[in-house]
């Protein structure tokens, strides 16, 4: 499924369009952009078009493009949704590096979390980040995620093995955070 439009203060989440594919594959050409991502190789344009189309038809996924000033700058999604047990796995890419460090990822995660707990009957969201990705760690914490464990020395990046830090946010934690003074 594609996600509906959600307007934030900084960014706008909107459903993907076919013309986003060309912009999206360029993000994965840059090893600095992908340094702490799980996908580190650029897809072909055909693969990206197929991925967008598969996501649109997948009932267990919600995918948005992140837009700033009318320009596609990233994607975010909830995927592998297990409707029976009420959880999904989330992920975000901000492909335009000039926009890193401005709190965009944090707002994306906050908007997505609100959607998951107010528009979907999910109980929890699972995510993770590679050790050293402080921006993602801070953004996830701000959106209510907390560390629940680590796969040690899990991914090989820039000449060394890094931990994969596993995180999750439960509906009750999120509700407490929202009603906190």
């Amino acid at each position: 499924m594609y996600g509906p439009v959600i307007q934030g203060k900084l960014v706008r989440l909107r459903p993907p369009k076919a013309e986003d594919a060309a912009v999206m594959i360029a993000w994965f050409e840059d090893m600095e952009v992908t340094r702490l991502l799980l996908v580190r190789n650029p897809p072909s344009i055909e693969m990206e078009n197929e991925w967008l189309d598969r996501a649109a038809r997948n009932p267990d996924e919600v995918l948005w493009v992140v837009e700033l000033d009318g320009k596609a700058i990233g994607t975010t999604h909830i995927h592998q949704i297990d409707w029976k047990n009420g959880f999904g796995t989330t992920g975000t890419v901000i492909g335009d590096m000039s926009l890193w460090g401005k709190g965009l990822g944090r707002e994306v995660m906050q908007l997505r979390t609100r959607y998951a707990f107010t528009q979907l009957p999910l109980r929890k969201l699972k995510s993770g980040y590679l050790d050293g990705n402080d921006a993602s760690a801070r953004a996830q914490a701000a959106a209510g995620y907390r560390e629940i464990g680590r796969h040690r020395a899990d991914m090989f990046v820039d000449g060394k093995w890094r931990d994969h830090v596993m995180t999750e946010v439960t509906r009750e934690d999120w509700e407490k955070q929202c009603t906190a003074p």
């Binding site: 090893m31 190789n41 897809p43 072909s44």
Partner: protein, 180 residues
């Protein structure tokens, strides 16, 4: 898989695009350009496009186009990656002969070795060249490869049988000569 952009001093490695198929086909039209290559006949444009697309989807290969002054001049890659045992087989083609002898192949191999040992957890890269291809022999040596054996009189090229010289570079050898 396609490889990400890697900027060198002489050239730039970048992921292939659909429009690269046309120049790539033309490289194989010339018997001199393919003198020391495994493939010596030109594919059709459709075959080349199919190859680019199947490569993009192959999780056991990483392929780049080599670009000089924003022009595609060759390809390089790591193929048949055996993730369990941690090795892959490398190959390079500089299709534009006006650029031979300028150290471009050497830099392509050096950038590729660095990628293989810092971005992938590979233990070794295997390669080879045909006897008489001194440019490839020198470039591979500069990128850390050393000869490990020879298939004697293996390929028929320009009226005679030539050896295929097998080479490899180990992570530990590469680490001794390079800093991460």
């Amino acid at each position: 898989m396609y490889g990400p952009v890697i900027q060198g001093k002489l050239l730039r490695l970048r992921p292939p695009k659909g429009e690269d198929a046309l120049p790539m086909v033309s490289w194989f039209e010339n018997l001199e350009a393919t003198l020391f290559l495994g493939r010596r006949t030109p594919p059709s444009i459709e075959m080349e496009k199919d190859w680019l697309e199947s490569t993009a989807r192959d999780p056991n290969s990483v392929v780049w186009v080599a670009e000089v002054d924003a022009r595609a001049v060759g390809t390089t890659g790591i193929r048949e990656i055996d993730w369990k045992n941690g090795f892959g087989t490398t190959g390079t083609m500089i299709g534009d002969r006006s650029l031979w002898g300028k150290g471009i192949g050497r830099e392509a191999m050096q950038l590729r070795s660095r990628y293989a040992f810092t971005q992938l957890p590979l233990r070794k890269l295997k390669s080879s060249y045909f006897e008489g291809n001194t440019a490839s022999g020198r470039a591979q040596a500069a990128a850390g490869y050393r000869e490990v054996g020879r298939y004697r009189a293996d390929r028929y090229v320009d009226g005679k049988w030539v050896d295929e010289v097998m080479t490899e570079v180990l992570r530990e050898d590469w680490l001794k000569a390079n800093s991460v």
